[in-house]
């Protein structure tokens, strides 16, 4: 965590030093101090804008992640769905996202919906691809073992296959988290009735308010970094076996055995 603070501080320092050395005027590139002051001086407005953009990012991200995950599970279970959908998935990402925005506005108007769809559109792809890979790379011996233990199809899926794709799932979620805010900004540019940081950035630009542009950019960056860190934290708690020797109290059922080892006859049920 300290490293993050140091890294970000270094970027600000480099920014400041560069301005000093080159003598670029403030109306072209403002100093980091001026950008931060812009945020501070308009705290009320900036909070509203940030909140708007954060909620678009958040809800769109959730929709994208859920859709992506469910699609991957469905495709892994049904080869025919896999074969039909995979080309469509690739195509969906080949369409420029800005080009999608316009038809979405025509269909859904200027509300939250088109923005959610744009964010989800960007987020679901890395999730589908990673989860599909994860589900495909489950150890076949592991699956055989589940068959030999008499496992039902559903339980084998839930207990053996699904947890095996948690790692890839979080890889997809992390990629999605850093892109989601871009989706929100594009959504705001094309389909906004309520203004967020993206719309503010455009209008500040039109008004030659360079400090405002940089202020909005800083906040958008913060949202992106924040989302990524949130996913990291979620991953940490969702996969305790990667970082801990023993299961934490909140993870499944812990057992504290009654102290002395039982005598052999006590195990009749196991024969």
């Amino acid at each position: 965590m300290l490293l993050w603070v140091v890294a970000i501080a270094l970027i600000f320092v480099a920014w400041q030093v560069l301005l000093k050395l080159t003598g670029i005027p403030a109306y072209v590139i403002p100093s980091p101090g001026a950008a931060l002051a812009q945020i501070h001086d308009n705290a009320e407005l900036m909070r509203e804008l940030t909140w708007q953009t954060v909620s678009e990012t958040f809800y769109g991200y959730i929709v994208g992640a859920v859709v992506g995950f469910l699609l991957a599970v469905l495709m892994a279970q049904m080869p025919i769905v896999h074969r039909l959908l995979y080309p469509a998935l690739i195509t969906s990402q080949a369409v420029p996202i800005v080009a999608i925005a316009a038809p979405l506005v025509i269909v859904f108007g200027f509300g939250l919906t088109p923005k959610l769809i744009i964010v989800a559109w960007i987020v679901f792809f890395p999730v589908v691809v990673n989860v599909l890979d994860g589900l495909a790379s489950v150890d076949q011996d592991q699956v055989n073992l589940a068959r030999l233990l008499g496992g039902t199809r559903l339980r084998t899926f839930l207990i053996v296959r699904l947890p095996a794709c948690i790692g890839p799932l979080f890889s997809g979620l992390k990629i999605g988290a850093s892109y989601a805010v871009t989706g929100a900004v594009i959504g705001e540019w094309t389909a906004s009735s309520r203004i967020g940081l993206g719309t503010f950035l455009l209008s500040a630009n039109a008004q030659m308010n360079t400090a405002g542009v940089y202020g909005a950019m800083l906040l958008l960056t913060a949202i992106g970094i924040g989302s990524f860190l949130l996913v990291l934290v979620a991953e940490h708690f969702a996969t305790p076996w990667r970082t801990r020797m023993t299961a934490p109290a909140w993870f499944g059922r812990r057992v504290t055995p009654s102290a002395p080892p039982p005598d052999p006859p006590a195990r009749e049920g196991l024969k």
């Binding site: 011996d141 055989n144 068959r147 339980r155 801990r244 024969k271």
Partner: protein
């Protein structure tokens, strides 16, 4: 020390597993050629052979994972060929699920079939405590050594509650000190829990130390070359590894394995191949 070359017809009533005339091809390669073998209840049978002799094919056939070309596999008189889930099964790879605790891995069989109950967990915990895993119930597998992981894998196999356990080189990846400890531990479990064990290995010492009988399989095509009764008294301790009876048995087995290796598929002198 007595060595019976073949003994393939024990009393019908006392047969746990009966393998009859098993033949299987992978393409043109004959992996199993007319393999027949009976295993009595609570017997510990070791299947010994070099790689390519069909021992793993036999193992997969009995487990039900592999549908064999021809022949029958009877467990307690029922045909289980091609039916997974009838016997316990353990490999050299422990196949523990990294996201489940030791206890969760031991109760995996129950979780996969009907959901593990508190009873299942309590029984599994008692079993684990009794066999020296009590301090590790809430540990994740990655926190355990290779030997401990294999112990958990064996506990999982036992907790699944099948009478017949198939163990395919379960200790093959362990260092020799750990392996000897594991062998004695396995014998203790086998003695106390009255299970029938079919144990695949390529380690001659291991086969003699553990088994009531040692089934020697030969390659090209995979078949049973000979079956030896191991007449070492039980319980067997470390010192039996250097006893004259042990050494004599080992000499006989080596002779069979090596005569085979030099003669390329033709049975060596003094070797009887069952019809």
């Amino acid at each position: 020390m007595t060595i019976a070359a073949t003994d393939n017809a024990p009393d019908r009533a006392a047969v746990k597993l009966s393998v009859k005339h098993l033949t299987h091809h992978f393409g043109v390669f004959k992996a199993l050629a007319d393999v027949s073998l009976d295993i009595r209840p609570r017997e510990f049978v070791c299947i010994l052979g070099a790689s390519g002799c069909g021992k793993s094919t036999l193992f997969n056939a009995v487990s039900g994972l592999l549908k064999v070309g021809s022949g029958h596999i009877l467990l307690d008189g029922r045909d289980i060929a091609g039916k997974p889930g009838e016997v316990g099964y353990m490999l050299q790879k422990d196949l523990l699920l990294p996201w489940r605790t030791v206890l969760g891995n031991i109760t995996l069989g129950a979780s996969l079939t009907r959901g593990a109950t508190n009873d299942d967990r309590a029984q599994a915990a008692d079993l684990a405590v009794h066999y020296g895993l009590g301090d590790f119930l809430n540990h994740f597998p990655h926190a355990l050594s290779g030997g401990m992981r294999q112990r958990v894998a064996l506990m999982r196999t036992i907790a699944a509650g099948r009478d017949l356990m198939l163990l395919d080189e379960p200790f093959g990846a362990l260092d020799s000190q750990t392996r000897i400890g594991m062998q004695q531990w396995l014998l203790q479990i086998w003695r106390e829990l009255n299970r029938t064990v079919m144990f695949v290995t390529h380690d001659v010492d291991e086969a003699i130390f553990l088994g009531d009988r040692v089934v020697i399989m030969l390659p090209k095509p995979g078949r049973i070359g000979s079956i030896l009764h191991v007449e070492l008294p039980r319980p067997r301790a470390m010192d039996c590894l250097t006893s004259p009876a042990f050494v004599e048995t080992k000499r006989r087995i080596m002779e069979m394995l090596y005569s085979q290796a030099t003669l390329h598929g033709v049975p060596g002198p003094g070797l009887q191949v069952p019809a």
